[in-house]
Each structure stands twice: as structure tokens, then as C-alpha cells.
Amino acid sequence: MTVLALDGRMENQIRVSDVDVRLVQVVKKFGDAVAVDHVDLEVRDGEFFSLLGPSGCGKTTTLRMIGGFEEPTSGLIELQGQDVTWLPPYKRNVNTVFQSYALFPHLSTFENVAFGLRRKGLKSSEIAGRVTEMLELVELPGFEKRKPGQISGGQAQRVALARALINRPAVLLLDEPLGALDLKLRKQMQVELKRIQQEVGITFIYVTHDQEEAMTMSDRIAVMNNGRYEQLGDPESLYERPETRFVAGFLGVSNLLPATIVGTDGGYAACRLANDQTVRVPAALTRGAQRVDVGIRPEKIRLSAPGESTGGQENRMSGTIRDASYIGVSTQYIVEARGGTRVTVYEQNVERATRDELWQVGTDVDLTWLPDHSFVVEAAKPGE
């Protein structure tokens, strides 16, 4: 079991275990369609965990099974060491922030937030105190009397958050809670959510299809595709070392170069590209495969004049600029490498800052990057 530094966040709660939520071989079928396919997952106590993936990959279904709104076809779900697979939602120490908020339209903000405490039969005076406190935490003091129809989307989102958090659940489930907000408010709420999560120290399981959102907020991310996750890790390792084509493509832009491994040398594997040039990648990443795709992020590649020496440790390819798009902060080049492969390169507009100084279309250039910046994914199957 992984031991996690918790910076004393959960000091007033007894820690049963470091794992808050555990899914064991969970399957969910709707008729013949498999929505969740043998998922094993361990979410640690106090972490901000994201389920990231494209539409229809099974994120919501996974979350709904943890919340108790859906029963798994097979498998086991544990909360803090207790098997909850067949417990109804009201017997689980978990609360949910729904995608559409699902605020009770007939109740005031106060009563919405107080709903969970009323079910526990707390005294009115205590409820009033805690609701006020919670509305302050989400920065909505004075909104007690308003009905859900009388507040904005961002405010509704915070009421939904307050309504769930006030119950002090072991785990908070959030299903694309920022999906309905505009970009600016979204960014603002991301920061706020992260702040609140750190303040209360509750485990968050966060569903999103926005990779940037997942990257900026999460401690760890599971990248889901077709009912299972392809890779699980912290944002940096997912971005820098994607292990599958899907993960490489879903988190940012990447160049994938088909290659054959021809030998190893001092911790690096030599890969011959389709155009007969050879590049090196960390040997550990090849996982014994012979035919692979070498991946490199566009911002890791440097452009230089042909033959210009840059040290000799780098991987090097030659090509011709085919397209240049000035984006302001950077410029995006499409370079056609020898052999016809097209490579995307981002260059910060520092050295060459004005349009005239940019690489011109048709110029021959060398592409260089450090072997350590490469990653390796399985080779494309024929037909892909």
C-alpha cells in the first residue's frame, strides 16, 4: 500500500486506511453495451483524483456506481475499507455534485444546503450555524433566501458544492461540475475548487473531459477510453511519458514517428525511423517492443539551420518548413521531414519575435530534441 504524506490535513478524522475508494474488477453493462469494463482503481485519502476521457467512455457511469445510483454488473466497490457495492446512496458516506447541479427548485438556498443535515436530525441552531459557515466558504453569504431559479450558473454550482460538502463526506464526487460555465468563470472556479479541496481535505473524485482542467487541478488522473483507463498517474508523467497512443493524443498534441528498435547503448535504445534516420530514446520506455512509435511533444523540438551544431547528444532530423502559423505567444510550424512525415513544432516567439524573422515556408531546417524528452507508445496497428 502506498504511503502518502498528508500534511496533517485530516487531523480530526481517524484514518482507517490510505485508500478511500477501491474498485475491484468493476463491470457495468447496459444490455449488451459495456459502459465500464473491468476497472481496478484505488483512490487515496485526501487526494484530488480525476477521471478524464472523451464523451461516452464511462466516466459518469463509474462515478454513479461509487455514489450508489447504479449497481455494477459485477465487481466490488469499497469505501474506506467497507464493501458498499450494494448499499443505497443514503447509506454511503459519499456526496455528489451533479453535472446539472440538481438543486431542489422548491427550496431556498439555505434549505438546499441544509437538506443533508436535516436528514441527520441535527438541531436547528446547529444547522443554521453550519449553513452560514458553508455559504461563507463558497463565498455566497447572504444568498440564504434565494431560490435556485434566482441565482446564476456559477452561484448554483457553488450552492451544489456547499450542499454536498456540508455533510463532511469521506469522498466528494463531482461530475463535470464546471461544464455549464463560460471559460472565464470556469478558470476562476477551478482555482476556487482546488482551494476548497485543500481547505477541507476531503477526497475529490472529479470527472471531466477537459484535459487542461484535469491537469491543473488533479493530484492524479486516470485517462479513460472505452470503459477502462489506459493510464493512471500524476499530470506530469501522463504528459511527459504517455504510454499509449490514445493518452498521447488526448493530453495535448504529439508527434508520433514509426520506428524499429535496432540496438541499445548506455541506457538508450536506438530507433531507426521510416526515413532511415536514427534517434535515441530511453531504453526503459520501449518495454521490450521491436516496432514502436517514438513520440515527441511539439514544444520540445528546436529548429535550427541545417548542419548547425547543437552539441551532438540530441536526436536530429532534417526537413523543410511547410507551414507557419503565428499564434502570438508562439508560432506553430509544420515541418515535412525527409521521407514525408509531417512534424508539428511550437516555437516561443522570443528569439524570432516579429513575422519577418520567423522561419519562412520552404526553408530547410534541422529538428533537434533531447532523447530524454521522447516517449514511446505501441506501434500503430495496420489500418490506423
Binding site: 455514489g67 446512496p89 443514503y90 455528489t96 440538481a102 427548485p105 437538506f115 454536498a164 455533510n167
Partner: protein, 292 residues
């Protein structure tokens, strides 16, 4: 005609005189038709209320004689009227309560669950609305009488002689259809996630129903109950088949109409109307308040 032609040829935006008149008429047509429709709908009610202040010269209150508030001072003062009115109110109230409760549950079941016979039930629910009342009344009477001959057990006929209980059974039956249809319409837009949210926050099924589901469908249930009450209190055709010797207000009115048309009928009619209008405006104002 000449001026109309020239203005057309100059292409003035107003168009020809004919066009302009047409448009003017078009603008006026809607308000005029609206007023006519309202007037048409209100005439019988106006006549009823006006004649409730009449002092008829004979037994028949259909020629204006002189203004009087006698009818309003003695609204029940006619042999047989209080008993029949009481029966009508009793039947209407009971039938409304029973039909609303059952109909709401049926509506919930039909929208929520997939079960055997659901399609059939969905269709059968419409039958009482689509079947002519004459047919329903006649067949109900046949049913009630048939269950009496021969008695199924001992000498006590099950549902015969006809009376209060058979009227109630008949009213509940036709009211249920209307309640189910009204409640289903309200449930169609219901967001099931609200119930999931309630359960997520610790409410079990029972608490969820009373704290979330019921308050949200309440307007539909109230509308259904009002409709049921209105249908029940003035039903004549079905009631006349199954009432036996039990009078209800409409049956009583019909039975005395050959001998007399007392002003009390107008007074009771006006009261029922005013109570209904009062209640509807009250709920409208209250819900408008709640929205704000």
C-alpha cells in the same frame, strides 16, 4: 380606386388602400374575436348570476320580475335541495380524494417503471374519457344489477341496490383517467436527478418522495384534484344510471324542473362558480408569489 393604383405604382410602404384596410382589419380581428369568445363563454354565467337576484312571479325563474336578495338569504330553502347538495359534495369530495390518490400513484408507476401490461394500462386509462357517458352509465348499472342477481354469497347483494356507494365507485372510475393524464403531464418534465440528489444527501425513498417528489408534482396533483372535483360535482348522465333513489344536486334539479325552477338553483350555481374562481385565482397569485 385611382389613388390606390397610384400609391401602389409608387411603391409606398403602406401599399394600396385595400391593403391598408386589410391590415387594419387584421390588427383588429384578434381583439374582436377574443372579446366575442370571452363574451360567448361568459353569457351563461352572467345570466345565472343575474337571475339569482330575481324574484320570480311564479315557480319558474326565467322571466325577469324584480330585484331581490331572497334567494341569497335562503339558499337552501327548498324541499330536497339540502340533502341532494350534501350528497353531491360528499360524493365529489370522496371521489376526488380517492381518484387523486390512486391516479397519482398510477401516473407515477406508468412514468417510472417498465412492467408487464404497462402499455395496456396506458391505453385503458383513456377509455373512460373516450367512451360516451351513456354507455358507461348503462354498463355500470348492468354490472351493479348483475352482481345482485343471483347474489354471490348469501342473500346480501354486493352492489345493489344502487345508491351513494355506487355513485362513488362510478365517479372514482371516470375521475382516475383525468387525474392520471394530468399527473403524467407534470411528471414528464421531472428531473430524476433531483431524487438521486436527495438520496445522495441521506434521504431514503420515503423521505425523498415527501420532501422532493411530492412538492414538485403538487401543482399537477392539485390541478388534477380540481378537475376531478369539477367533473364529479356536476355529473349527470352516469350518476342518473347508478344513483338509485339517492339524489345528487344535478339529479334533483332535473327531477323538479318540470314543476319548478327555483331561484336557489341559480344561487347554488353562483356559489359553486365563485368558490371555484376564488380558489383558482388564489393559487395563481400564490404561485406567482412563490416564483418571485
Amino acid at each position: 380606386m385611382a389613388s390606390a393604383a397610384t400609391s401602389t405604382s409608387r411603391g409606398r410602404p403602406e401599399g394600396s388602400l385595400g391593403d391598408r384596410i386589410g391590415r387594419r382589419v387584421g390588427h383588429l380581428a384578434l381583439p374582436v374575436f377574443t372579446s366575442l369568445a370571452i363574451f360567448y363563454l361568459l353569457i351563461p354565467i352572467i345570466v345565472m348570476i343575474v337571475f339569482s337576484f330575481n324574484k320570480p312571479s311564479g315557480k319558474f325563474n326565467y322571466t325577469w320580475n324584480e330585484f331581490s336578495i331572497d334567494g341569497w338569504l335562503h339558499p337552501l330553502d327548498w324541499p330536497g335541495l339540502p340533502e341532494s347538495l350534501l350528497a353531491s359534495l360528499g360524493v365529489a369530495l370522496l371521489a376526488t380524494v380517492i381518484a387523486t390518490a390512486l391516479g397519482t400513484l398510477i401516473g407515477l408507476a406508468l412514468t417510472r417503471y417498465a412492467f408487464r401490461g404497462r402499455g395496456l394500462l396506458n391505453g385503458v386509462i383513456f377509455l373512460p374519457m373516450a367512451t360516451p357517458e351513456l354507455v358507461l352509465g348503462a354498463s355500470l348499472l348492468t354490472l351493479f344489477v348483475a352482481t345482485a342477481l343471483p347474489p354471490l354469497r348469501g342473500n346480501v347483494p354486493t352492489l345493489y341496490p344502487t345508491g351513494f356507494s355506487t355513485i362513488l365507485i362510478a365517479h372514482v372510475m371516470f375521475n382516475i383517467s383525468y387525474v392520471v393524464v394530468t399527473v403524467k403531464a407534470r411528471l414528464a418534465g421531472f428531473d430524476r436527478r433531483l431524487e438521486e440528489a436527495a438520496m445522495d444527501l441521506g434521504a431514503n425513498e420515503w423521505v425523498t418522495f415527501w420532501k422532493v417528489t411530492f412538492p414538485l408534482i403538487l401543482p399537477g396533483v392539485v390541478a388534477a384534484a380540481l378537475l376531478a372535483f369539477a367533473l364529479s360535482i356536476d355529473d349527470f348522465i352516469i350518476t342518473s344510471f347508478v344513483s338509485g333513489t339517492q339524489n345528487t344536486f344535478p339529479i334533483w334539479v332535473y327531477s323538479i324542473i318540470r314543476n319548478a325552477l327555483p331561484v336557489q338553483i341559480n344561487v347554488i350555481g353562483s356559489i359553486i362558480f365563485l368558490v371555484a374562481v376564488g380558489y383558482v385565482s388564489l393559487t395563481t397569485i400564490r404561485s406567482a408569489h412563490a416564483q418571485r
